[in-house]
């Protein structure tokens, strides 16, 4: 039996970054907001306190703050002709669960996308000609420009007390910042963190080769900071327990540290935790979502919560699942390339070079989530792609985030994985090795998509999301190009030895951790025939439904997505409060 509850103004599905931002903006506008979170309530003070938070086994290996694969996971196949199998133990990507979501367990890379990333098809067509873009490369424009999003990037950076250095301040290039970035209205609110030894070595070598190193923007405060919401962040302790952990000193920006101190006190806001949303109840005739059905996972009781406005703020996979399972929008069919929900699933292409320097003391355990250096010289369209055979690029960075020894214990290639020789190499190299990382773009291919799996179900009895995904030629050549630059920089560091980057990996592998930068499935755009939501992230099929997060990216850029996810959330919240609430209907004519 489903308990039908009294209607509220707004229901938010998922209380990570986007849900928390939207809940804050809409309660400020006077609306009563209910936030549904599948996991437990978590606060920095009660849940991330030392010494117990410094437990690598519990958090980094057994994944205490990550989605429980026993309840819900994803199936994977490499091409539409294969049968997908469930990812039984999460590996390649690790979405957070519980209040704050992935915003609790991230490292804090807070890069903005480049202006050309938002107008990708238009930009590439203009620069290289229509014929230069391969027909199966499904690149698209976001429908919003960098200039439109800039004030909202700025808001998120100030919310988080981001530590960094501007490279393009109102059109003025600043040496030592990222000179390739789009024009900024303001500098970062905090100075860069203390750069790690590896970051320093990387930056020196990159500069010698003529590249333009800059500090990777970091949502870990370099000094105590009070944000515009009145929440205070402390200075980072460089504890080396950032990704997969909550912050023990409230230095890492998370929804919990930056927004919840205000939001959870607001009488207009009500949090319901352990509330797993099962379905959106869609009224096709009037093109509205009427209510949200959810299950209290502690009791199994089922509720139906009617709402005037529904905000889908779950992780990429659950956003797509809820749209497909609720019958909102036409599912994408890779055979015909028709339909929209599930299309343009993308990821982050990655590679890395391991550097060994026997005379340098690295102290890998003294690390912030991000306190290293990067170059953008071969990212996006910052370089001429004529004749290269691929589009896009990568950020190349050196920012070791931890020396936690279950996971981080580098040995030279060819070393056995156990026994006496392994012990000797492990003891010798622990303090003398680090990685240079490549974080590359992932451009959509017509085969890559999300749909409902026909064989496997989640704990609520729904089909699992099925991912059809593999690396394509554009991904492989892009990564090879960027990895070549990483190798040159590594060589310029004059290391004792180094590894060759993985010769472009065969197929997507679900086991080794790569990146929790999954994107697409409910993409934004200018046309209901080719996108799921409009430029304000409003569903083309239900005007009272807005979908947030990286699931709205038509493709992923060579950056971590969080800052863009958050800027889009603020952009959408602005459109809701200034336009939608006054005139409830489509904000863009279909």
């Amino acid at each position: 039996m489903t308990v039908k509850l009294k209607e509220v103004d707004v229901v938010v599905v998922g209380m990570g970054w986007t849900g928390s931002i939207l809940a804050r903006e809409l309660t400020k506008a006077g609306l009563h907001v209910v936030g549904l979170e599948r996991g437990p309530r978590r606060t920095s003070e009660e849940d991330f306190a030392p010494p117990s938070i410094r437990d690598e086994l519990k958090y980094a290996i057994r994944l205490a703050l990550i989605q429980d694969a026993q309840r819900e996971t994803v199936t994977m196949r490499h091409s539409p002709s294969e049968t997908a199998l469930p990812i039984r133990r999460l590996g390649a990507f690790l979405p957070g669960s519980g209040l704050g979501g992935s915003g609790v367990v991230w490292n804090g890379i807070t890069s903005r996308f480049l202006p050309s990333d938002f107008e990708l098809r238009g930009h590439l067509t203009q620069r290289y000609g229509r014929a230069a873009i391969p027909s199966d490369l499904a690149v698209a424009d976001f429908g919003v420009t960098y200039a439109e999003l800039e004030p909202f990037y700025d808001r998120f950076e100030k919310l988080c007390g981001v530590s960094g250095k501007a490279g393009n301040l109102r059109g003025r290039q600043i040496a030592g910042g990222n000179i390739f970035e789009g024009e900024r209205s303001d500098d970062y609110p905090n100075k860069p963190l203390v750069t790690s030894k590896p970051g320093t070595l990387f930056a020196r070598a990159a500069a010698e080769l003529g590249y333009h190193p800059f500090p990777v923007p970091s949502a870990n405060a370099s000094a105590a900071y009070t944000n515009p919401e009145g929440a205070t962040l402390n200075a980072c302790e460089y504890c080396g327990h950032c990704d997969r952990f909550g912050c023990a000193v409230n230095a890492k920006a998370s929804p919990n540290s930056t927004l919840h101190p205000v939001l959870l006190q607001d009488p207009n806001f009500e949090l319901r935790d352990h509330a797993a949303v099962k379905q959106l109840v869609y009224d096709r005739a009037v093109r509205k979502v009427r209510s949200v059905r959810y299950v209290d996972v502690r009791t199994g009781a089922e509720y139906e919560q009617p709402a005037g406005l529904v905000l889908l703020c779950a992780y990429v996979f659950n956003n797509a699942l809820l749209m497909l399972h609720s019958g909102i929008g036409a599912p994408y069919d890779p055979a015909t390339a028709k339909g929209v929900v599930g299309k343009n699933y993308c990821y982050q292409t990655t590679s890395r070079v391991q550097v060994f320097m026997e005379d340098e003391e690295i102290n890998p355990f003294m690390a912030s989530g991000v306190n290293g250096m990067a170059i953008d010289d071969v990212n996006g369209d910052n370089f001429d792609h004529s004749g290269l055979g691929f589009f896009g690029g990568a950020m190349i960075f050196c920012s070791p985030a931890s020396g936690r020894p279950i996971m981080i214990r580098p040995v030279p290639p060819g070393t056995p994985r156990w026994g006496a020789a392994w012990k000797q190499a492990t003891a010798k190299w622990y303090n003398h090795s680090f990685f240079i990382n490549v974080s590359g773009a992932s451009y959509a291919h017509r085969h890559s998509h999300l749909d409902l799996d026909p064989n496997y179900r989640d704990a609520l009895g729904r089909p699992l999301i099925r991912m059809t995904y593999d690396f394509q030629e554009n991904d492989r050549t892009l990564v090879a190009h960027a990895a070549g630059v990483a190798v040159k920089i590594a060589q310029a560091m004059n290391p004792t030895m180094m590894t060759a980057p993985p010769a472009q990996r065969g197929s997507f592998h679900t086991v080794p951790y790569q990146s929790t930068h999954n994107t697409g499935g409910t993409i934004m755009g200018s046309d209901p025939g080719s996108s799921v939501v409009n430029r304000y992230l409003q569903s083309w099929d239900a005007d009272n439904l807005f979908v947030m997060g990286a699931s709205t990216f038509p493709q992923n850029a060579g950056y971590a997505p969080t800052a863009t996810v958050a800027a889009l959330a603020y952009w959408s919240a602005h459109a809701i409060t200034t336009q939608y609430l006054k005139n409830q209907g489509p904000l863009v004519d279909a």
């Binding site: 030392p50 010494p51 117990s52 410094r54 437990d55 690598e56 086994l57 290996i61 057994r62 994944l63 429980d68 694969a69 026993q70 994977m76 490499h78 049968t83 199998l85 469930p86 990812i87 039984r88 133990r89 999460l90 590996g91 203390v194 790690s196 030894k197 200075a235 980072c236 302790e237 460089y238 504890c239 080396g240 327990h241 340098e360 003391e361 102290n363 355990f365 003294m366 020396g403 020894p405 279950i406 214990r409 994985r417 156990w418 026994g419 006496a420 012990k423 000797q424 492990t426 003891a427 622990y430 303090n431 064989n455 496997y456 179900r457 197929s507 997507f508 592998h509 679900t510 086991v511």
Partner: protein, 191 residues
């Protein structure tokens, strides 16, 4: 390590021999079992994780590509039970003895055969058993000592990992590029 409600004597004997082959005693550290790694494994296999927490366990189960990762029906506890039994069957057939009764050199060769997957086990792939054993052994050796392994922070001393409290706001500058020599401390030292 004498009384063991969850592991049989044969399983304990296998694990002790295996862990001490993976992590032999030398100048760098005591052996794996002397560091408590077998205790660690026993407790982990008896924990919710050992019973399959966090593992999606619905069928159907198919033969998979390596890219699909773990696709067996077994919980970790079941995998160890089946794997240890199969490993002893294999060593009895190859050497006429259980694994723990082999000479060091034969233990090393057997573990290599499991690692490469060249040992044919019945009912469970030897490679999967080996990977689970190696992972759990390394977890036990390097995890905080509160879990029973890494006794006296032996593994952390071996590599120079200082453990807790991990507050380096000053040291990140004062120890920049220099060896940071501090005796490692555990969660238990701060609880």
């Amino acid at each position: 390590m004498t009384s063991s409600p969850s592991l049989t004597a044969a399983e304990l004997a296998f694990l002790t021999a295996a862990v001490d082959t993976l992590i032999p005693a030398d100048d760098l550290s005591p052996s794996g079992s002397d560091c408590g790694v077998v205790d660690f494994i026993e407790w982990q296999l008896a924990s919710p994780w050992g019973e399959g927490a966090g593992l999606y366990r619905d069928g159907p189960f198919f033969q998979a590509k390596p890219e699909h990762g773990y696709q067996l029906r077994f919980t970790p506890r079941e995998l160890f039970r089946a794997g240890i039994a199969a490993a002893n069957v294999w060593t009895r057939s190859a050497h006429g003895k259980d694994f723990n009764q082999l000479a060091d050199i034969d233990r090393i060769a057997a573990l290599k055969a499991f690692e490469e997957g060249s040992a044919e086990f019945s009912g469970v792939p030897s490679k999967e058993v080996f990977e689970a054993l190696l992972n759990l052994t390394m977890e036990g050796f390097f995890a905080d000592p509160i879990y029973g392994g890494n006794r006296d922070c032996s593994a952390w001393k071996m590599i120079g990992y200082p453990g807790l409290p991990a507050r380096y706001r000053e040291a990140v500058s004062t120890s920049f590029g220099k060896r940071y020599d501090q005796p490692p401390r555990s969660i238990a030292d701060f609880s």
